[in-house]
Amino acid sequence: MAGATWREIFPGNVVLTPGSTKGYHTGGWRSLRPVWDNSKCIKCGICYVYCPEGCVSQDEDGYFMADLDYCKGCGICAQECWTGAIEMVEEG
């Protein structure tokens, strides 16, 4: 629908395809990225719980990572991490 004219827009700004915001990569806003030090990680999952974007997930070994397509670099995961396993590193 990008580039749609006002006539082509469905009345009421209705979006008929569920989950369409997935196509909008908010990760582009980020200036800091979270980097996990797995040697300090106790796999408690607090980073997963607190991530406001819901972009933190757990891998097969139980460690965590952020989906950088959506991570805005807010740093809440690093702030909340019990063991200081997450460092916010400047994008560059």
Binding site: W6, V15, S20, T21
Partner: protein
């Protein structure tokens, strides 16, 4: 047309009776003077089983409009009523209802806005809602309140419109007046107003998003789509009013005229003051003053073309505003009407009397005085009528 029995009823109760005939699914009304009798009587109709409506007793007007938007989004026919501070509290949600094309109907018992606190009547509450994208229709008497309320969902839900509608009912002057009026039969209304068929609904089986986030690549198009929907709604509104006239014999126009033939000076009114103004015009005509009256029925979308036709031969327009638009040098109706004539080769002198604020009675004599003064106008004027100094 069937001969109908006329009954005497308080206009607020009649508004609720009319809503009760519209097969409304959800009503979320928070009581506020002078709308309260609408809220109370509708809840009586629901409690007595006279209308199959879910009446949500909300804790504020912000919530009542939120409930209506949510209900409307699921495909329910939704109703609310408010005025004054309640309408101001709803303000944030009104553009959402129109942008989401929720055909909600709301009665507004027009009352001033604080401060100072005043619970009587003027148009100060509706004016800040002008740009909310709602259709706004003003009523003049009890019968019009009944008719316009019964027509409101037909207009709102028309597939070419899909916009919410406000019916303006001047507080106390109309809401608390006992007037003679007649109601169509329920069968006639059921035929006139078929069940609501929404074009899209929130339903778990078919997920979709309403009122979503939009970036600059979409946002302006959406604003234009909303504006075009409102501008284009006028022809369909008139079509519904025409059908009403054929079925029930009473005629409604975006702009209505009274003794404007050959009138050099035309008074312009909106709402309940119009009937008093008619008597003022009669008196002025008897005195030999060439005066007529134009009544704005449809406030949004603004009936610019109809107004131009209605006043084409007038030398002076005297616009009676029951609200102030602070800082613009005129009342809201006045500034809108001036804008209509900007592009015209010949245009009338337009004078503005702000009057009837905070429930001040505007009498026949007042219209006579304003009409006589306007008839002599040489240039634009802006006056708080009756305010000394």
């Amino acid at each position: 047309m069937a001969k109908r029995k006329r009954i005497g009823m308080e206009v607020a109760l009649a508004a609720a009776e009319a809503v009760g005939m519209c097969n409304v699914d959800v009503a979320a009304v928070y009581p506020i003077t002078p709308q309260s009798h609408i809220a109370e009587h509708l809840s009586e109709l629901v409690a007595d089983g006279k209308t199959d409506t879910e009446y949500v007793t909300v804790e504020s007007e912000h919530t009542s409009m939120s409930v209506c938007i949510g209900a409307s989004a699921t495909g329910a026919r939704a109703y609310t009523a408010t005025c004054s501070q309640g309408l101001m509290l709803m303000h944030e949600l009104l553009p959402i209802a129109s942008a989401m094309r929720c055909p909600i109907v709301m009665s507004v018992a027009n009352r001033p806005v604080n401060a100072p606190l005043n619970i009587l009547s003027d148009h100060s509450d509706i004016m800040p809602q002008r740009d909310s994208g709602w259709i706004v229709i003003f009523s003049e008497n009890g019968q019009e309140v009944v008719d316009l309320t019964l027509m409101a969902y037909r207009i709102a839900e028309d597939k070419d419109i899909m916009l919410p509608v406000i019916i303006g009912i001047d507080g106390f002057i109309l809401t608390h007046m006992v007037e003679p009026m007649e109601f169509p039969d329920q069968k006639e209304i059921d035929k006139f107003l078929p069940p609501y068929k929404p074009y899209a609904t929130l339903h778990p089986d078919k997920p979709l998003t309403m009122g979503a986030f939009a970036m600059p690549d979409f946002f302006p198009q959406m604003m234009k789509a909303k504006d075009m929907a409102l501008l284009n709604s006028k022809k369909t509104i008139v079509k519904v009013w025409d059908e009403w006239e054929r079925k029930f014999g009473r005629r409604y126009r975006p702009v209505e005229t009274y003794r404007t033939e050959g009138a050099e000076t035309i008074l312009v009114t909106m709402g309940s003051m119009s009937e008093t103004a008619e008597l003022g015009v009669d008196e002025l005509r008897d005195k030999g003053v060439s005066v007529g009256l134009v009544k704005i029925r449809l406030w949004r979308p603004f009936p610019s073309d109809e107004l131009k036709v209605a006043v084409k031969d007038a030398r002076v327009l005297a616009v009676m505003d029951r609200a102030v638009s602070p800082g613009t040098g005129g009342g809201p109706v006045f500034t809108d009407i001036k804008a209509v004539f900007y592009g015209e080769d010949s245009r009338p002198i337009i004078v503005n009397y702000v009057m009837g604020l905070g429930g001040v009675d505007v009498t026949v004599g007042d219209f006579v005085k304003m009409g006589e003064k306007a008839a002599k106008a040489k240039k634009e004027e802006y006056e708080f009528y009756g305010v000394m100094g």
